[in-house]
């Protein structure tokens, strides 16, 4: 027996789906069209944009700032996402798995705090931490007669990579910890009795057994890191565009230079890249199930 009539089903479903359709699905599709216009934030073009075809895309592919942003985004994802969050998270999960000391809860708590505190606050924490004159990092370096270093100016890209590693490692660490906990202890103990080194235990047993989780984590981290806007709060893309990753590039061209049509074209490219990540994810999941 159906508890709900057809009409009730549709009636209950409609409001939610309508909000999703109008405010999420429609913009994502509409952006394909917007990218073909010269829509602007202000002036006459904001009221009556005209169709410019693939002009925006042509201009993007000649824009050296676009390539700069693309390159920076790739470095940012590889360094802070893969080497930072995924690799460091995996290292911590593996090493902390058997750790019994006070270090474990402290480290876990600190990493989780870094992960859940609102982005504006963590950004300001890092501005304070990295400050040339008063920052804690330079103060500590001063104790061993190093520095001071103007981190956000002279090593801006390195700074946001370090920041984003700090910000996001908790997720990978917790995910891998959960995965490692599903490995029966006797698997590792068998290897220990054989005399397998810690490295061999990791390589021969832990790694093969958590491989699916590793893949899931890497794709999610890639997608999230690629779409993170927080570095803007630390450096505004500067100095001299040295930290202008794609999200910041979209913001600058669209809202500081008022060229929404151009921004829409970049957004289209971003959405397609995101879609690519999602496709890899779905493909991997399907293969795992098969």
């Amino acid at each position: 027996m159906n508890v709900l009539s057809r009409r009730a089903t549709a009636g209950f479903l409609f409001p939610g789906l309508a909000v999703i359709a109008i405010f999420m699905v429609f913009p994502a599709v509409w952006v394909l069209y917007l990218g073909l216009t010269d829509e602007s934030l202000t002036g006459i073009k904001s009221v009556m944009p005209s169709f410019v075809g693939l002009g925006n895309f042509g201009r993007i592919f000649q824009d050296r700032f676009f390539y700069n942003a693309l390159k920076l985004s790739f470095i940012f994802v590889a360094a802070s996402g893969w080497i930072g969050q995924v690799a460091l998270g995996l290292f911590l999960a593996v090493v902390l798995h058997k750790e019994r000391s006070w270090l474990k809860p402290v480290l876990k708590a600190a990493a989780i705090l870094a992960w859940i505190i609102p982005e504006v606050v963590v950004a300001y924490l890092w501005i304070a931490f990295l400050d040339r004159d008063f920052g804690l990092l330079n103060t500590l370096l001063g104790l061993v007669h190093l520095g001071p270093v103007n981190w956000l100016y002279d090593h801006a890209l390195f700074s946001i990579i370090l920041f984003n590693t700090w910000r996001g490692t908790a997720f990978s660490m917790l995910l891998f910890t959960a995965a490692i906990e599903t490995i029966p202890p006797s698997y590792l103990e068998t290897a220990q009795v054989l005399g397998a080194s810690a490295w061999r235990q990791f390589k021969d047993i832990i790694l093969p057994m958590i491989r699916p989780v590793l893949l899931t984590d890497t794709i999610l981290i890639t997608l999230w890191t690629f779409n993170v806007f927080t570095p803007f709060l630390l450096t505004q893309g500067g100095p001299a565009f040295s930290t202008e990753i794609l999200p910041v590039y979209v913001y600058r061209t669209s809202f500081q230079y008022f060229k929404l049509g151009h921004g829409a074209a970049v957004s289209t490219i971003l959405l397609l890249i995101n879609l690519g990540f999602a496709a890899v994810y779905l493909y991997a999941q399907r293969r795992r199930r098969a």
């Binding site: 029966p184 006797s186 698997y187 103990e189 068998t190 290897a191 220990q192 009795v193 054989l194 005399g195 397998a196 061999r200 021969d204 047993i205 093969p208 057994m209």
Partner: protein, 361 residues
Amino acid sequence: MAKLVFKDIHKQFGNHTALEGISVEIAEGEFFTLLGPSGCGKTTMLRLIAGLETADKGEIWIGDRDVTYLPPGQRKVAMVFQNYALYPHMTVAENISYPLVIKKTPGGRIQEKVKSVAERLSLKGLLQRMPSQLSGGQQQRVAVARAMVQDPLVYLFDEPLSNLDAKLRQEARRFLKRIQKETGITAVYVTHDQTEAMAMSDRVAVLKDGRLIQVASPETIYTEPADVFVAGFVGSLPMNLIEGKLEKEGRDLRFSAGEFSVGIDENIGLANGAKLTLGIRPEQVFFEPDSDGGRTRAVIDDVEQLGSEMTVSLSIGEVILLSRIPKSRPPKTGERVKLRFDKSGFHFFDECGNRIAGAKI
């Protein structure tokens, strides 16, 4: 092949004492079983031999080496776990050869050894399968093969049969025992199943609360249990244990507990008035129709038919006795019967539950 010695081993987990003053010597080539209920410390003993735990006090020797503080990989022992711990991402061949790969054995030699072990355990046709494609019995053999291929000084078995169903377990029992005898390698076997312990072992150590209660051959454990705990733990049915006291009655001594009463010959060396526990195995409790109004009368409570045998539960006032007898005409529930005992099977335990040596009829 080596003997294995525990010298006054203590092990504490937090404020739980897992092992307290364990000293035992396991002979070369012996099949030695650690038997006890869960939490008695038997698995801890095994893990101490493997080096997966370290003793707080005492020494462990394998052959002529003190291994107490050696890391697990250097002790030359091979362990088979309850869940077999076969690596699901490796084929059977890879699982069996893994110990040799770790020990950096040359490739040709690995192949040779895996082949010979697989032949011996009839695993040849399964070498390219994944563990998930094997039956429970096959998985168990692969785990044993992985232990054998190491040529260890000692085999360590942690309840390796408890994941098998009853029928396979019997078969696996014989198989394990045969392999152990053929290789002549000392084996330490942990189980909570007394049937397994009795069937397979050269000697059995019964543990309780981190202490060794008795170390002896299965035969001795059965016929001369060291205390009421062992008496109750060993045997397919637990021994009947009746708490009561001795009373003088004319020239004879009688043991009585409530309405239950049985005559004891005087010459067993027990004093009048002593409080003690009488133990009788169900196989030595008999009954017959109550015709002449004998002294110990019982009522049939329940009858369980078990093929060629039956288990009858009898009550004498508060005391309940089990009797295991060959199948015959089943008695009726509620029927009154007269009890008869094979008094040579009487065991006497003192107030603390310890066997009273020599108190045998």
